[in-house]
């Protein structure tokens, strides 16, 4: 059954800029739902550099990526935004007019449909997706001989499995799939692993016992008759090559960002960025706004603080779409009792 959610605004992307937009919209009594493909909020800050210090957030001499996300979550708590994680927006359908926009937003899960008056795209560099290694014809084997994630372990029973990578995903799946594989081989570029030490230790024990193989090198070619994979060619650091027979390859090379379905939403694009004006940060489609790293305009700087500013200005125009009859009074949180009530801090 399809879930229909009616709300004021759908925010695509729950990174720092999308999160702060909840605050600016909330002060204007505008309700939001946020959608993000990651299983957690915070976008790049949480996924790429949670521990890295950031020094250019106003008012914070130093804050880590995760620290900033945690603070933003505390700041927007009074507005009770709803999060839809692990979901990707697939399509946007315009139902309204340029003066009174209305949209239907569908996600990849296809069980959720949103009806909203405005959309804020705060998607940063796009959606996080598994990094695909640049190997010729790899697409031809995807879903049959090449998998970037394990959904059902049983699929891999009695298969000859090649896992590529040296991080937690690669090592965790090595240890977990080894018992049901016909033969498991782990391939990594060097004899050092950044995965958790106890998992690395387990893998080394299995190798020492002859229960799996470990090779050092890189996959340079896939062998087989697509979509049926038969093996791979591996190149070692000294330039020599050898083949390993296998039924499936699982490359675990981490995540990267791709524009994805945004390209299909009828928006003007310039080099994978969405052009906006600098008054409202609205796209060529009235009612759809783009804020943060995903937008472009003359003088654009990809800074978190720029995204905060853009969200505040976009919120002003969103207010006109959501409350066409209401005049917007500009107020400060320091002095306005009505804003303080919304924040739950009124005396």
């Amino acid at each position: 059954m399809t879930d229909n959610i009616e709300t004021d605004v759908v925010i695509i992307g729950a990174g720092p800029v999308g999160l702060f937009a909840v605050f600016e919209l909330g002060l204007l009594d505008i309700k939001c739902h946020l959608i993000d493909i990651l299983p957690k909020v915070g976008g790049q800050c949480a996924e790429l550099y949670p521990e890295k210090p950031i020094y250019d957030i106003p008012g914070f001499p130093m804050v880590t990526g995760q620290g900033l996300v945690d603070n933003l979550m505390a700041q927007i708590e009074p507005f009770h935004p709803t999060f839809h994680l692990n979901e990707m927006v697939e399509s946007i359908e315009a139902l309204g007019t340029p003066e009174a926009p209305l949209f239907r937003v569908k996600t990849s899960e296809n069980d959720t449909t949103f009806i909203c008056k405005a959309i804020l795209i705060a998607a940063g560099g796009g959606s996080f997706q598994p990094k695909k290694p640049p190997i010729d014809h790899i697409e031809a084997y995807e879903g049959t001989g090449v998998f970037y994630a394990v959904r059902h372990m049983e699929m891999f029973r009695d298969k000859r499995i090649l896992i590529v990578g040296g991080g937690d995903s690669a090592l965790d799946w090595t240890v977990n799939l080894q018992p049901l594989a016909k033969r498991l081989t782990l391939l990594h570029r060097r004899d050092a692993f950044r995965a958790a030490p106890h998992t690395v230790e387990k893998m080394r024990t299995l190798v020492a016992a002859g229960d799996m193989d470990l090779h050092l090198g890189q996959v340079t070619a896939l062998k087989g008759k697509a979509p049926v994979l038969e093996g791979v060619t591996i190149k070692k650091d000294d330039g020599s090559t050898f083949d390993v027979a296998c039924d499936v390859v699982l490359p675990f090379f981490g995540l990267t960002m791709k524009l994805g379905p945004i390209a299909d939403w009828g928006l003007n694009l310039h080099e994978n960025l969405i052009p906006v004006d600098t008054e409202k940060f609205e796209t060529n489609v009235p009612g759809i706004f783009a804020i943060g790293d995903i937008n472009t305009y003359p003088g654009k700087l990809k800074l978190i603080l720029s995204g905060f500013h853009e969200g505040a200005l976009a919120a002003q125009k969103v207010h006109r779409y959501v409350y066409p009859e209401k005049k917007l009074l500009f107020q400060y949180t320091t002095s306005s009792t009505s804003l303080q009530k919304k924040l739950g801090v009124a005396a």
Partner: protein, 104 residues
């Protein structure tokens, strides 16, 4: 002042003016060649992966453990480096790099 030579993914070689204190990734990006640099130079994404010409390898600071960890997430060659981790100095005048292929 000096230059770096960058071979793009179609095999064309570009000579780019370099500035001291800039990262090689920043020089390549500033000249408009297709290098992603998603994380902005924080050594967190490996989208600025390049192959460094053999003769230049010994002139570079060796990769840190952090850079090695990121190189684990791409298909490397022995001369693989992340260009955001190479700070350009006049010693690197004439540095020769090739942009690594990216997956689809």
């Amino acid at each position: 002042m000096g230059v770096i030579h960058v071979t793009d993914r179609s095999g064309q070689r570009h000579t780019l003016e370099a500035l001291e204190g800039w990262r090689v990734m920043e020089i390549i990006r500033d000249w408009g060649l297709p290098i992603e640099g998603l994380c902005g130079g924080a050594c967190e994404c490996a989208t600025c992966h390049v192959f460094v010409a053999e003769e230049w390898i010994p002139k570079l600071y060796p990769p840190t453990e952090e850079e090695e960890d990121q190189l684990d997430t791409v298909v490397t060659q022995p001369n693989s480096r992340l260009s955001c981790q190479i700070l350009w100095t006049p010693d690197l005048d004439g540095l020769e790099v090739t942009l690594a292929p990216t997956g689809s």
